[in-house]
Symmetry: C2
Subunit: 405 residues, 2 copies
C-alpha cells in the first residue's frame, strides 16, 4: 500500500463531466489499495474570469485582496470533487490551503510555502477518506490568504508529498509525459520513462513547459519522486527522480528550445571590473529577466558584452542599453530579435566527452550558423537564426539517436 499525492490541473477539472471522470479514476486507484491525497487547480478559465472582474474595479488590485478572490477558484473544485466522490459512495474531505494548514510567507500572489501541518490529512487517510486539497494557496502566519502564483498547484502537490513522505507525487496534465523534444517539431520525439531532476530543470527553463519549475526544485530538495501523466490517456508517463548511479544513463535526454529570445550586444565597452553590473543593473531594475550572458575576452582594453532577453522585453531593453552605452563610452549597440535558442540536455554529458563537438558538427553539416554558445554541466545551448530552429532541433534529435530508447 502506497501513499500517492495526485495533482489535476485546470483542464482536467474544467467541466462537471471531467470532475466526474477524475472521481472515477481516483476510486479505481483507491480500490487497488493506495492512500490518495488529491491537489486541484481551479476550473480552466476561472482564474482569468476572476482577474477580469478584479480589473474592472481596480487597475492594480492589492495582493491581499487578489488572493482572497483567486483562492475561491480551487475552493470550488475541491468541494465539487468531494461531492462527486461521495455520490459514488467514497468518503472524501476537502481542505483549503488555510485549513490544511499550508503556511506560507506573506508575499501575496507569489508566496512561498514554509510549513505544512499534515495532521488532519493523516487522520482522514486513516479513516479511509480520499483527501482533496486546494492547490496554489496557503495562508501567512497572520491568517491572511496567500497564493503561490501561476502554476502553484504543482508546488502544492510536491510540498504535500514531501510533508507526508508520500511514495510518489503524480502530476496529471494534458500531455502524457516529458518528451525528448517537442513532438510538433520532431515527429520521432519519444516520451522518456525517466529523467533526473536536474535535466528536468534544464528542460523546463528552456521551454519544455510541462511542470512548474519551482515544483521540480522542491521535489529535488526533498527527494520526492515526481511523475507526469496524462489525465485523458492511459500510460506510465515520465518519472522524474534523483540520478541513480547504478543505472546506465542515456548520454542526452532531450533537445529543448525557445523561440522567444532576442539578443543585444554592446560593442567596445572599456574592459574594467564591474562592467557587467553596470550594463545589467539598469536592465534588472526594470524587472527585465536576462537569460544567456556572454562576455568575450577583451582586446585593445575593450570587450563585447552580449545577453538575451524575452522578445516581449526587447524594445525596453534596447532603449536602456543604448543609454548605458553612451554613459560607458562604448562603441555601439547591435541587436537581433529574430533568434532562437536550442539546447542539448543530459546528465550523461558529465562523463562523456565529445558531446559539444557532435552538436557543433551536426549544425555545421546543416549549414546552421551559431551566433552564441553557453554551456553548463549538463547542457549546451546555442543561439541560431529563428528560421533555422526547426531544422536544428530535428538534426540534433537524430544525431543523438533520441528516437530510440
Amino acid at each position: 500500500m502506497a501513499l500517492i499525492v495526485q495533482k489535476f490541473g485546470g483542464t482536467s477539472v474544467g467541466t462537471v463531466d471531467r470532475i466526474r471522470e477524475v472521481a472515477k479514476k481516483l476510486i479505481k486507484h483507491q480500490q487497488q489499495g493506495d492512500d490518495l491525497v488529491v491537489v486541484l487547480s481551479a476550473m480552466s478559465g476561472e482564474t482569468n474570469r476572476l482577474i477580469g472582474l478584479a480589473n474592472e474595479l481596480n487597475d492594480k488590485p492589492k495582493g491581499r485582496e487578489l488572493d482572497v478572490l483567486l483562492s475561491t477558484g480551487e475552493q470550488v473544485t475541491i468541494a465539487l470533487l468531494c461531492m462527486a466522490l461521495e455520490q459514488q459512495g467514497v468518503q472524501a474531505t476537502s481542505y483549503t490551503g488555510s485549513q490544511v494548514r499550508i503556511l506560507t510567507d506573506d508575499s501575496h500572489n507569489k508566496a512561498r510555502i514554509t510549513e505544512i501541518d499534515d495532521k488532519k490529512i493523516r487522520d482522514d487517510l486513516e479513516k479511509g477518506h480520499i483527501v482533496v486539497v486546494a492547490g496554489f494557496q496557503g495562508c501567512d502566519p497572520q491568517g491572511n490568504i496567500t497564493t503561490l502564483g501561476r502554476g502553484g498547484s504543482d508546488t502544492t502537490a510536491v510540498a504535500l508529498a514531501a510533508a507526508l513522505k508520500a511514495d510518489e507525487c503524480q502530476i496529471y496534465t494534458d500531455v502524457d509525459g516529458v518528451y525528448t523534444t517537442d513532438p510538433r517539431v520532431v515527429s520521432e520525439a519519444r516520451r522518456l520513462d525517466t529523467i533526473t531532476y536536474e535535466e528536468m530543470l534544464e528542460m523546463a527553463s528552456l521551454g519544455a513547459k510541462v511542470l512548474q519549475i519551482r515544483s521540480v526544485e522542491f521535489a529535488r530538495n526533498y527527494n520526492v519522486p515526481l511523475r507526469v501523466l496524462s489525465s485523458f490517456k492511459e500510460g506510465g508517463g515520465t518519472l522524474i527522480t534523483a540520478e541513480d548511479p547504478t543505472m546506465e544513463q542515456a548520454v542526452i535526454s532531450g533537445i529543448a528550445f525557445n523561440r522567444d529570445e532576442a539578443k543585444l550586444t554592446v560593442l567596445g565597452v572599456p574592459d574594467h571590473p564591474g562592467i557587467a553590473t553596470q550594463i545589467l543593473g539598469p536592465i534588472a531594475k526594470e524587472n527585465i529577466e536576462v537569460d544567456m550572458i556572454i562576455q568575450n575576452t577583451g582586446h585593445d582594453s575593450t570587450t563585447d558584452f552580449t545577453f538575451t532577453v524575452h522578445r516581449n522585453d526587447f524594445q525596453a531593453a534596447l532603449d536602456i542599453l543604448q543609454k548605458t552605452s553612451v554613459l560607458l563610452g562604448a562603441k555601439s549597440v547591435i541587436s537581433d530579435n529574430k533568434i532562437a535558442k536550442v539546447s542539448v540536455v543530459g546528465v550523461g554529458m558529465r562523463s562523456h566527452a565529445g558531446i559539444a563537438n557532435t552538436m557543433f558538427e551536426t549544425l555545421a553539416n546543416e549549414d546552421i550558423n551559431i551566433s552564441m554558445i553557453s554551456t553548463s554541466e549538463i547542457k549546451i545551448s546555442v543561439v541560431v537564426d529563428e528560421l533555422l530552429l526547426d531544422n536544428a532541433v530535428k538534426s540534433l534529435h537524430k544525431a543523438f539517436k533520441l528516437e530510440h530508447a
Copy 2:
C-alpha cells in the same frame, strides 16, 4: 462618531457596477466620520449557480462540502468591494467568516453563531480601514467552514453589530423599509419609520419578507438597533428597536398576510390527553412545518382538530392525516388548500380593547367569512378564502387608518 455595521444583499452587489456604487456610498458615509463594518452577500444568482454545479455531481451533497462550495460566493464579493474601495483611495480589509473569526456550531448549511472574535476588526477600524466581512458563513471549532443558511448574511450583520456594540446595524436591500402592508395589494400602504422587534417578528413570520427572522431575534436578544434601507433609493428606511414606553405607540403597525396556506381538519377525534401529539407527531416526523393549530372544545367526548401547513406540503400532510385518522378512530378528514391568512399586528393591542372586534366587524361588512381565528399578545390572525384575501387586507388597512402616520 458612530460605529455602523452595514449589510448589502446579493442584488446590491450583483454586478461590478453595483459594487462600485456601494463603494462610493460607503466612502461618502465614512467621510462623515463614522466607522464602517460592511457585510456582503454573494452576487445575486451566484449561490444558485454553485448549487446547480453541486447537483450535477451529487443529488444530495453533504453539508460540509456544500458549505466549502457556497462560502466562495461571499469571498468573491468581499475581495471585489475592497478592490473598488482601494481604487478610490480608501483603505479596506476583507475577512471571510473563518478569518474574523465567526465561530459557529457544526450544523452545516444552518449553523448558529456562538462567538465572534472582534480583535482584527477593531484593529483595522483604528487604522481607518473600512472592514468588509463575508456574510452567511463562519467556521466550527474544528475549523470546518459552515454556512448559516439562506438569508444568513442578515444574521452575520446583526451578530457583528452585537459583538462590536455598534450604534446601528443597517440592512440595505431592494425595498426601502417595512410597510404597513404589501403596497402591491394596498396602494396606500405606508412606510413605517419605526417598528418594534416583536412586531417585526410577527410581520416577518407572516409573510412580509424583508428581513431574515433569525436576524430580528438576534437583534432583539442583544438590543441592536436595526434599520432596513434601500440600496438604490435615498431615505431613512425603517428602524426596528425595542419598545419605548415613553413613546405613544400606534395601536396597529401593519397588516400581514400569507397566500401559501392550506388547512386540514380531522373531525370527531376521541377527546383524550395526548391527542395533539398523536395527530401532529407523524406530520413533524416528515419535516412538515405546521403554522396555525386550533382545537375546539369537544362535545360527545370527541373533538375537532384543525391545523395549517404550507401549500407545498398539503398533499403529503393529507396522506399522513388520513392514516392517523383511521388509527385514532376519528370520524373523517376535511381539507382546503384554497385559503389564505391575514393578520393584524401591533404592540398597542396589549393596551387597547376592541381591536379584535374591529377586525371581525370590518370583515363581516365586506361579507368575508372567517374559517379560523388564532390570537397572540400582539397579533390576531384569521383564515379566509384566498379569493377574498386582497379585499380583506385593503379593508383592514383602511379600518385601522394605516395610510396615515
